[in-house]
């Protein structure tokens, strides 16, 4: 079986990173809204659902369907024979996904999986991964307490 041809990695990081989405979530959280119920303490709970924030969560969850093979947030492991997706040019990635779906591009698993997605989903995924930095820019997680409170 022919080895699949993956799009080349871009040489420069795209300008758009995760922060705009976070900013969007936070911005929506601070708009005047009814009092939060006690069982809904997330910051975004202070707001009614904004279409953009809800859509961002859904798109991020859809993109996570790629992570088991391509890495969390599309960042592949070092030496991976399967390419990372974060930071690939959106147009090339969309074309590759549609070519897998149509059968124009050979492969092992990808032609079979791509047929399970709508064209619009593949386009949205291409845009999503293109907007991510190829290298992780992970904010430090707060240290976990030793004992959780009861």
């Amino acid at each position: 079986m022919a080895r699949p041809h993956w799009p080349a990695l871009p040489t420069t990081a795209p300008p758009l990173r995760w922060w705009p989405l976070l900013a969007m979530l936070v911005a929506s959280a601070t708009q005047a809204q009814p009092e939060p119920p006690a069982s809904q303490p997330l910051p975004q709970a202070q707001s009614a659902a904004t279409p953009s924030a809800v859509a961002a969560l859904r798109l991020r969850t859809l993109a996570a369907t790629c992570a088991a093979c391509h890495g969390t947030e599309g960042r592949a492991l070092p030496d991976s024979p399967v390419p990372g997706l974060a930071g690939l040019p959106a147009g090339a990635l969309r074309q590759a996904l549609l070519a897998f779906k149509s059968g124009a591009r050979p492969g092992t698993v990808m032609p079979q999986l791509a047929k399970g997605y709508e064209d619009a989903q593949l386009a949205a995924l291409a845009d999503y991964f293109a907007a991510l930095a190829p290298e992780p820019d992970r904010p430090a997680a707060p240290p976990a307490p030793k004992e959780p409170r009861p």
């Binding site: 922060w19 976070l22 979530l25 911005a27 969850t61 088991a68 991976s80 079979q112 997680a141």
Partner: protein, 426 residues
């Protein structure tokens, strides 16, 4: 403050000020996750990621390390050490702020929304996500509990010390010995797993004990997964070695002290003698779900609302992974548990935010199986939630199998394993 102004300020500062402005008195929502396998570990990480670290996540798992069942058949064949399949869980604490509690759950009180741990500690939750995996129904085979306790019959269907013990039995088998593998009625954990196990052990026996025989005793009417691919490869690579017998339901096992071989008894056929008896008993959802009152009487698997993986029997509880009643054509696999976890985590984050969960979640699955030490076949599928059917359906035209075993897919299989372990744990 206007949205435009906020967007012009630094995002990090915004996150802090928003928290102070709105959450000074409010405590953070806490999600307790039970089970550190493919489902639970993935859920713990993605609850943190998808909530922007705003949900407090506690992962309850007695083991310090995750040991992968996928690829553990290679350990039985002697082609990989078990330690290659071991990953520490504490990366979830260091990188993602997940609180790890190394304990067993004694009981779940869904009415009071709390867990009691073995130590007596109580743990309250806003949302509970259970990923308990499977229990092996040892009592479904007469004599199996005793033979298992004596170390004579080892299912080794959860990777760990038992995998190594079964490997030692295989190595100690005399040259003309018989390895018998019995397969329970579907659904069970990892549909192609038993056939991969037969293949990989055959690859070892072909080299090390060419006079040995491998009996596959299947309760099912045919090979459950990748049947044509396994049959073809067995006929070519292991023609005198593997003997496949469908509709052989093992009901009893006998291993007398001091005797090298034991006896397998069947529902219909005459008993069979074997040197190593690798009996896989019937499987069911982890017993914690029974205690928690989440199972229907007599049910083997837990019913969920597939859109969010919310348990149908209690509010604020989600159940994922091998323990759930499978949707049509949905395998009980690590990859599928990883996919459940992401949909459930997103649904929980949405609910805690007062948002509508995704009305049309999507799941993917890819299962790789080794047919010898290096060549691999796959099955892949995509499952779309249907609001009309309130269930997942394989997307028409999607999914499929390998054309033939290949070493290229062998490299993809190893990469899949490393990558999904990182996706859940790193």
């Amino acid at each position: 403050m206007k949205r435009r102004d906020l967007l012009q300020a630094g995002a990090a500062a915004l996150a802090l000020s928003a928290q102070r402005a709105t959450g000074a008195q409010a405590r953070r929502a806490r999600v307790v996750v039970v089970g550190g396998g493919f489902g639970g570990a993935t859920a713990a990480k993605y609850l943190r990621l998808l909530s922007g670290q705003h949900v407090e996540v506690v992962l309850v798992e007695p083991q310090a390390d995750f040991i992968s069942c996928p690829l553990s058949n290679l350990v039985l064949g002697g082609f990989r050490p078990l330690d290659d399949l071991r990953q520490p869980l504490d990366t979830l604490a260091r990188r993602h702020g997940v609180q790890l509690v190394r304990e067993r759950v004694a009981r779940v009180d869904t009415a009071a929304r709390r867990l009691l741990l073995d130590s007596g500690t109580a743990l309250a939750y806003d949302k509970l996500l259970l990923s308990p995996g499977i229990d092996l129904d040892m009592d479904s085979v007469d004599g199996l509990p005793a033979a298992h306790a004596a170390g004579r019959v080892l299912p080794a269907w959860k990777a760990g010390p038992e995998t190594l013990a079964l490997r030692r039995q295989i190595e100690a088998m005399p040259g003309g010995g018989v390895f018998a593998l019995s397969i329970p009625p579907a659904p069970y954990r990892c549909p192609p797993g038993p056939y991969e196990r037969a293949s990989v052990i055959a690859a070892y026996l072909r080299q090390a004990k060419p006079r040995a025989k491998l009996l596959v005793l299947d309760a099912n009417p045919d090979i459950v997964s990748k049947g044509a691919l396994f049959r073809k490869f067995w006929a070519e690579a292991y023609p005198q070695l593997i003997e496949y017998r469908p509709l052989h339901q093992v009901v009893g096992v006998e291993a007398r002290p001091g005797e090298l071989a034991g006896t397998l008894r069947f529902e219909l056929q005459e008993p069979e003698r074997a040197t190593v008896m690798n009996v896989l008993p019937a499987m069911r959802a982890g017993s914690l779900l029974q205690q928690a009152g989440l199972m229907k009487p007599g049910a083997r698997w837990c019913e969920v609302d597939y859109r969010t993986f919310a348990a149908t029997a209690a509010p604020h509880v989600h159940v994922i992974g091998d323990a759930i009643q499978p949707a049509p054509a949905m395998p009980k696999s690590g990859h599928m548990a990883n996919a459940h976890a992401k949909v459930a985590a997103a649904a929980i984050v949405a609910e805690l935010s007062g948002w509508e969960p995704d009305p049309a979640p999507l799941l993917t699955n890819t299962c790789y199986s080794f047919v010898d030490a290096r060549q691999v076949i796959h099955v892949a599928s995509v499952h779309q939630y249907s609001a009309a059917l309130r269930n997942y359906q394989p997307v028409a035209g999607s999914g499929g199998l390998s054309a033939a075993p290949s070493t290229l897919e062998g490299s993809y299989a190893w990469n899949w394993a490393r990558t999904i372990w990182a996706d859940m744990l790193a």
